[in-house]
Every structure is written in C-alpha cells, then in structure tokens.
Symmetry: C2
Subunit: 63 residues, 2 copies
C-alpha cells in the first residue's frame, strides 16, 4: 500500500524524490517505489529517510 505520510512529509519540506534520494544515498526509483508501496525498504534506509525529513519511525512507517 502507498506511503502517503512519506510523500506528505517530503512535500512539506519542498523536496523532490531526487533530492530525498540524494540526501539518503539511494536512487530516485527506490524512493518512488517506497512511496508507491512496491517493496519494503530496510530499517537502515527508513532511519535515513526519517532523519532527512525530521520525522520518527513511528510517524512515517508505523501502520
């Protein structure tokens, strides 16, 4: 299922998928796939995304 909280948090900081990808060191397609819900990232990547967006794991990835 889609991760709209991630998409929303990124938009709130006016970051593109490419900018977030660069900030956490992955490809743009990986960010796109996570937002789309295509596959589950590793906890390490989730933590990097949280720090880049100033959010916690529970805020972005708890269901």
């Amino acid at each position: 299922m889609k991760n709209l909280r991630l998409k929303s948090a990124r938009a709130a900081l006016d970051m593109s998928q490419q900018q977030l990808a660069d900030a956490v060191g992955v490809s743009r397609q990986t960010i796109n796939a996570i937002e789309k819900g295509d596959y589950n990232p590793t906890i390490k990547l989730c933590l990097a995304i949280c720090k880049a967006l100033n959010k916690t794991l529970d805020e972005l990835f708890w269901e």
Copy 2:
C-alpha cells in the same frame, strides 16, 4: 551494533529466539543476527517483531 532493546523485550516475555522467529515467520538465525547487529532487517520484519513483542518501531529500532 547490538540491539539490546530487542533482546530485552523478548526476554521480558520469556520468549526464545526460536519462538519469536516462529511468531514472525523467519528463521532463528535471522533473529539472532538482528539482535547481534549483523545486518539490517526490512521494515516489514521490524513491524512484525514489534507486534509480536507489543512494542513500537521507535521503542525497538530508533537510535
């Protein structure tokens, strides 16, 4: 680095690594490796572990 919070939460419920592994559908070695800190699990597995141990992502995996 070791995940002592996970180890502690499991011990608090008196569960063995095997029991937790069965509860979340992975091998015992995977649980052992996560507690040992050998590699990073997927967010899906982290969520399953949290639910099995009645903890949140932030409680077990936030650094």
